[in-house]
Symmetry: D2
Subunit: 344 residues, 4 copies
């Protein structure tokens, strides 16, 4: 009997439970037992585990978050922790580990793999910025939530003839801003990939106003920066443990600067944590399920040191190493589509 | 032929379009023509009006915002404006006005009424703090949006073992916080009516943690204040033109203070403008429609100087004067219900 | 220590779990233990019970359905069952029962109460047709679901210039049809209270078409009947165990008859079970919670043989007898409001 | 100045308006004028057209249906109609046509293209069964609606220990059933591609019951058929103008047959037209926008006789001929994933 340990690490993300369920259920078909490791790598260091049965995963498919809990613990910061982790793997009879997480979590997985521990990875990045996979679960849900928020803000913007600035997730890459901005009909989208020029933004919004469109929606990724003014933002920014600017660094900056430059009311909304919570979209549930099934299959095939990934519409396995190799920035052809609609 | 002018003033609110539609359609049955006045009282000062036909109001029932636009203009700040307003009423042949708005808009309506201008009012208060009516449209929608956000934050709070602070609308009264807090299963609800004691809040959250509930949701109205520490908040607060604290004054304060006192991660989400945008709930569409029908009936009956209001399940007419008379604070029996579930 | 047994009977309804949670939590404050009785009265006959702890009710507030299961079992159909039920009450040390259900469930509660068993009732009627209470939980959720469906059907109706018939719940009373019809902007609402005249309906829809509105939405309660043609429907109708016409009796009838009379495509949608499933609205969660708190308070006060009810905005206690006394039909003032918008 | 005529044909679908908007806005950048053709090819036969300006397409991105109306008119059924169509193309100075539709609409486009009329196509198939493109807009929205319905039905199924049968769209291919079934955690998915064996289905559901899962969800595509029993269904089926079985042919059949075979209550819900109405998901808005942009680019490049298509994550152009060539049935690897969860 093969015993598979499952853990989730890093920021939570809609679809984690769907992956866990798929690994457990597919594993059962393959004859595996499953053990849930609490709070990411921390649980393996601390020996905090629990059996995962069919019953444990019943009804969790539509649930946001992770039933296993999560943390950002990196056992390699402390040699004793690595030893505890190895001891616990032996103690609990864990034959293989499915690690579900982002760069950091999979980075640890990669190191453990090189030490000979059988690991497979499942990529998680709500920002969609991991290079090894075209998309991951959670991104579609985040885009849906942001798009719904933009729809709501439209009615207020239009009624009050205002500029509404919406700050969304995306520290290093502007995927959520770009896709939700197109879906929501944004009049300007600002992303980390392209430092923005305040005068140009002002010019666009003013031109739109003069064409009779008395309101505008500006979607800005939290990591977007004005040309040569990054410090201006940094001063008012707050960051959380992920390094995320949480409360409107660039959003507040834009509000203040645009209000100075335009003779219009400007308001800012910082969507924050609601972007990563709640029930996953159908699209994300299916993708997460496919990832979980594929991860269990990799274990059956003893094809360790790999992570599952989406390429086109196919699930493939790639070396864990690739998970952390490249930041995937926004496709510029897609970004240009947004600008067709500016001022419209 | 009676010509009815319709305007919306103050902050936008889901259901305004449903009122406009109901006044126009019911008015048509009564043989009225309708004129839309743009941007609240400003449109009557500036002569910015347009005919409102059956076609104008087709399809607007489910739409958020107001097709007429809105502003906070008070013509009584400038005597010449009052004269322009009266001239325009004559110029456009307006026989009666339906003014849809909050305290300020209805305050102007009341003054005009005393000057002999035929006006009826429809109360709008997303915060639910106007004394003359039990409820108004927009409140149920705001509560729904906040409840959905709390549901989303629950999964993150639970996965990360965090305290999540959610700042919601409610400057003078904590209705949204109380009702959405009960609906979302909040573990602490803080409202303007009762200055909160930080030590007590900390005690509750710690007790809950020690009972094995490793996460908590705190819902706080933007106008809530710590006992004897109002100034601490004021320093970091920002206010918009409505005097609303827009970006997390008390929310940020709580995050900082709770994180100091508890050995837990604390995160804050400021819901902001998404609370007042988007399609009204079924409940609000029906209430807004009933208000609009009743307003048109008041005009038919030449029963001016009144505003429509909800009492129990009945629509009644009350003097416009009452609209601004009393702030309606949260029912303490309802608020106490929330506390039954604290620590649960 | 008082031990309270809780059961849910009859058709499921959003908000049942919120009631259960509120009884358990409020009961805990009053020093009660709680026992969950499975599947309505059946569980008390069969001795199928389980402890209900704080843990049992954690996270159930936003969940649809009932964690206790439900059935339509009536123990009074069989004398031996009544005896078993009484034996089980003694066996499990149940001091008082909270029965959550509709006419049938509360009818049994009433009989047991007269036999000296301490019972309190919580009314459940998704159709809103129980006379003793103004509203109950579940109704607002059903109305929301129907309204969203009407919104969706509008775009199809308009694109295809069709008449869309929507059949909704409401066997004896047309509350859902009326309220959701007003909220969705229906062009005709047909309810059980008023037998409809096919020629009149046809006339309305044709008049609307001739005014340039090339599509219409007709909302029909499942229990609505054409004047003098009830049998025509009965032939094609199917009924479920609640006597509900489940698959488009009157809906199909209307589709066929309207298509004969109008030169338009007519389509029918039967919303069916999705109207009673899923997460309750914020409004229903609060009402259900208030009911549950009040039921626990009645037990604390040993005020048995009562059921909780909503009157205006107050929760009151009324004799269980009243629960089954009167069918509450649609308020005709409300129904007339709908007709203002016909043909518009 | 190039004048582009735009039309939508066949059944309506969320995202049509997003395509129209994208063609108009991108066309404006290319220097095109746009003309809206009403009700598919019918409008070109009847000369029912209107200018499409920037204003016409403002605010339509999130709207379901099509602002141009639609029909199933095939001008090639009548030679005089083809002549009228050609005359109207000349009369209105139409230089190129964007035809948005399914097999039939694009079949006409293909014939016209061969006659020398400059046409480009945009594929529309809510069932996702057109071979030339991996996915089209509308499919993700339909899947979302079905998944939400399954979520709702879960709570009822569980509370009542029932089998719930959900009949969804999919006459020739079971894409919606498969994807939404996986997303909703269905316990059995039946599709047109694989005739089902009633005994096997019964066996699965009974086995699940015996493992303690007292309820099941069965998702069935409207075109699914029992082995050797197609006629049994046909007798009770109704079809609409698209040949769609609209009211529960196979759904009712399954309900009746499963209830005979199992000692459980079985209920059926036929989702019908709500699957194709309402606001498109963010995913569909983006895909529809990309299609519209690409169609306008094809016209700029005078690359006629093509249709846009999605391959992997790329938009490509393929000959119009391909649009009607192949039915795309469900990927069997995906379908097998569903069965991993059966009985779970």
């Amino acid at each position: 009997m093969t015993t598979v340990g499952i853990l989730t690490g890093g920021g939570d993300c809609p679809g984690l439970n769907a992956v866990i369920r798929a690994v457990v259920r597919t594993g059962a078909k393959h004859g595996f037992d499953a053990i849930g490791i609490r709070d990411g790598w921390l649980g393996l260091v601390a020996g905090n585990v629990e059996p995962l049965t069919d019953y444990s995963v019943t009804g969790i498919l539509p649930k946001g978050g992770t039933i296993l809990g999560t943390s950002r613990t990196n056992p390699f910061k402390n040699e004793a922790d690595v030893q505890r982790l190895r001891d616990n793997i032996r103690k609990f009879g864990i034959d293989a580990i499915v690690a579900i997480g982002g760069e950091d979590t999979l980075g640890v997985a990669n190191k453990l793999s090189k030490m000979g521990i059988p690991v497979v990875g499942v990529p998680k990045t709500i920002d969609n910025d991991v290079g090894a996979t075209d998309y991951t679960f959670g991104f579609d849900t985040a885009v849906s939530i942001v798009t719904e928020a933009i729809d709501r803000l439209h009615t207020t913007a239009e009624s009050h003839h205002r500029v509404m600035v919406v700050e969304v997730m995306g520290r290093h890459a502007g995927w959520i801003a770009t896709v939700a901005g197109i879906a929501g009909g944004a009049d300007e989208i600002l992303i980390p990939e392209i430092p923005f020029d305040l005068d140009e933004v002002t010019h666009h919004l003013r031109a739109r106003y003069e064409r009779g469109k008395k309101f505008s929606i500006v979607v800005v990724a939290e990591g977007a920066q004005p040309k040569g003014m990054a410090e201006a933002i940094a001063q008012s920014a707050r960051t959380d443990e992920f390094g995320h600017v949480t409360l409107g660094g660039v959003g507040n900056f834009l509000r203040d600067e645009l209000e100075k430059r335009l003779d219009m009311e400007v308001r800012v909304t910082v969507l924050g944590h609601i972007q990563r919570g709640g029930s996953p979209t159908a699209h994300d549930r299916v993708l997460a399920t496919r990832f979980g099934v594929a991860a269990a299959d990799l274990i059956r095939d003893e094809d360790f040191g790999k992570m599952v990934a989406l390429r086109g519409d196919d699930i493939v396995a790639v070396p864990l190493e690739e998970a952390v190799a490249n930041l995937k920035t926004v496709d510029m052809d897609l970004y240009k589509i947004a600008s067709i609609f500016y001022g419209g």
